[in-house]
């Protein structure tokens, strides 16, 4: 209450006509736009370096997209290279390797989503039921930890110890349960299994933070009332906890589905190798090989543009869908 009333007071105070100012800045400054801008001059000064950063490193590259419509020549630069219209796009879209990388990006992202998404929710629900604080805190610490480990290290763990064919932990486990060792590093199907496992290992615990955040501050009397009415533990989870995180679940799902065409370069490049390139080559690694390794700036830029445009389309669709089903939008 105190906060609100003093806020109102300050508001009135700000809009008071000339003459009732605090003496330092006169009322004229308060009323005109120029005056308001001048009043905040130090804040604008603070903002300048940040906006300069975004203009130079985010907006200037957007102009560089014109390379996708040029036969880019590094010696002539962006301004003097020859314009070729849609020729670069035609070349990209008719390339089999491009479509393989698009397919792999979508398949790997969807597989990780299918495994990771429900698992994150299940672990969050179970963590929420743990009543022993020290056990809960310790397991949470352990679960968040892999998120902070670099992809180079994660790939090192996977390829040098966890999934090696001879003596790898996973294969030794499989053998001790009567199975046979699987070629996780060289067979495309088993490689995909490993890829999904390592992604889940790294991010599943971190993902629980957002659900646990949605569950803090729940009115405990809900649970108490349900308990007194004889609801079992499972009933309380299904009828109280789940509805409370439903909108978070929907938002996260839409957000993650909308990212189905975006993929980091690190995981596929570091986990992959030549024998699984048919499934591990994704858009990011393809752009890297074309643009940085082979210096074909025009094609690599065109692929980047294709990806950005598709991303925006999916995002807008996902946002519309979210609003359609009565959830908050994501844009």
């Amino acid at each position: 209450m105190a906060g609100k009333s003093s806020g109102e007071a300050a508001d009135i105070y700000r809009h008071t006509p000339a003459g009732k100012g605090d003496g330092e800045a006169s009322g004229v400054y308060r009323r005109t736009l120029a005056g308001r801008v001048w009043r905040y001059k130090w804040l604008y000064l603070m903002l300048t370096p940040v906006m300069a950063y975004f203009i130079i490193f985010k907006y200037a590259p957007m102009y560089g997209i014109v390379m996708a419509f040029q036969k880019y020549n590094p010696f002539k630069g962006i301004f003097d290279s020859q314009w070729v219209g849609l020729d670069v796009f035609k070349k990209v879209l008719s390339n089999h390797n491009f479509w393989v990388s698009v397919k792999n990006t979508i398949v790997l992202n969807l597989l990780v989503l299918i495994v990771n998404f429900p698992l994150t929710i299940i672990i969050s629900l179970m963590l929420n039921e743990i009543r022993h604080i020290r056990f809960k805190k310790f397991t949470q610490s352990v679960l968040y930890l892999p998120h902070f480990i670099s992809w180079v290290v994660v790939a090192g763990i996977a390829r040098a110890t966890l999934f090696t064919t001879n003596g790898g932990t996973v294969n030794m486990l499989l053998e001790s349960f009567g199975g046979t060792a699987k070629p996780f590093l060289s067979d495309t199907v088993w490689w995909t299994v490993m890829y999904v496992f390592m992604n889940t290992w790294k991010e599943v615990g971190w993902g629980t933070i957002i659900y646990l955040a949605a569950l803090t501050g729940i009115d405990e009397s809900l649970y108490e009332a349900a308990y007194l009415d004889g609801a079992t533990r499972m009933q309380r989870i299904v009828y109280i906890t789940l509805p409370l995180i439903k909108s978070t679940v929907v938002t996260m799902l839409i957000l993650q589905v909308s990212r189905v065409m975006s993929i980091g370069l690190d995981a596929p490049l570091l986990l992959g190798n030549d024998s699984v390139i048919n499934v591990s080559e994704v858009i990011a690694t393809y752009v890297y090989r074309l643009g940085i390794v082979r210096n074909d700036y025009s094609q690599a830029t065109a692929i980047g543009l294709f990806q950005s445009v598709v991303n925006i389309l999916i995002l807008v669709l996902a946002d519309r869908f979210a609003k359609l089903i009565g959830e908050d939008g994501i844009i």
């Binding site: 105190a2 906060g3 003093s6 300050a10 700000r14 605090d22 330092e24 308001r36 801008v37 905040y40 130090w42 804040l43 903002l47 950063y53 975004f54 590259p61 957007m62 560089g64 179970m126 929420n128 039921e129 743990i130 009543r131 022993h132 604080i133 056990f135 310790f138 397991t139 610490s141 679960l143 930890l145 892999p146 670099s150 180079v152 790939a155 090192g156 763990i157 390829r159 966890l162 003596g167 030794m172 290992w201 615990g205 933070i209 957002i210 955040a213 803090t216 405990e220 009397s221 108490e224 308990y227 370069l265 690190d266 890297y288 643009g291 940085i292 700036y297 830029t301 980047g304 991303n311």
Partner: protein
Amino acid sequence: MSIGRKRKKDMQEAYSGIKEAFSIVDVLFYLCVGLTALVCLYPILNVLAISLSGYQEVLSNSVTWYPKNISFAAYRDIFRRKQIWQAMGTTILVTVYGTAAGLVLTTSAAYVLSRNNLPGRKFFSAMILFTMYFSGGIIPTFVVVKGLGLVDTLGALFIPQAVSVFNFVIMRTFFRELPESLEESAQIDGATELQVLFKIVLPLSVPIIATVGLFYAVQYWNDYFQSLIYITTDTKYTLQLRLRSFLFGQELDAQAQVSGDRGQIMTQSLKMASIMFATLPILVVYPWLQKYFVKGMMLGSVKG
């Protein structure tokens, strides 16, 4: 009395009003959560154990979660390599510069754009948020960085990605949720916007500054992509690039061939020791910063 009270407090998390008996469902939940934690932890313990185990034990693949026949030979070898110290130095510099620059820029942007009355704040915010959805892409950014003469310099490793939009968003959310009355009463007392920032807002923002600082530091410490595309000179390799060539490159394997079977196994311990060397700094600061990032993430994600 204090022990009894502590035990009681320990158990009061989920539903404090219910004194329900420990049931079979609880056992199941504790088991599953415990098992998941074990799966998360085991690979790291396994790496640590192999890096510390003796030659015979590594050879027979018998090392699991604890070291057998403890030997520091692999670490002695790692510590003797100049390259890895050089890479560590580069990474420390980039992490310090990058985190400092990221915190200063993100805090100023988030604070300025959290002010309710600032003319143009919506335009500037939209300009920042738009870059989250649309970007020029890898190659046009590379061309800009190259044009600025940053390729193959340390600057290329943090300047082109100095501000993370995600960090900006969680920080701005945090600032917006600070009680306005505090700032307004300070302003009525004649404090300037900058005095409000330094005397009132920043001291209240330790959790979010620690969180965002940790995110930047981890981003730079673990960065692989930026150094892969911008660094070409061997002596400027970052820790992750050096680690990659240790783990997947030919150098260790070539040395192993020269020294035979014993070399092969040493290679395995060496690889694991290099992983520990590169990850230890994160493992050391992690427990100290955990309370901040969980709090910061929860506060930041409420409306994020």
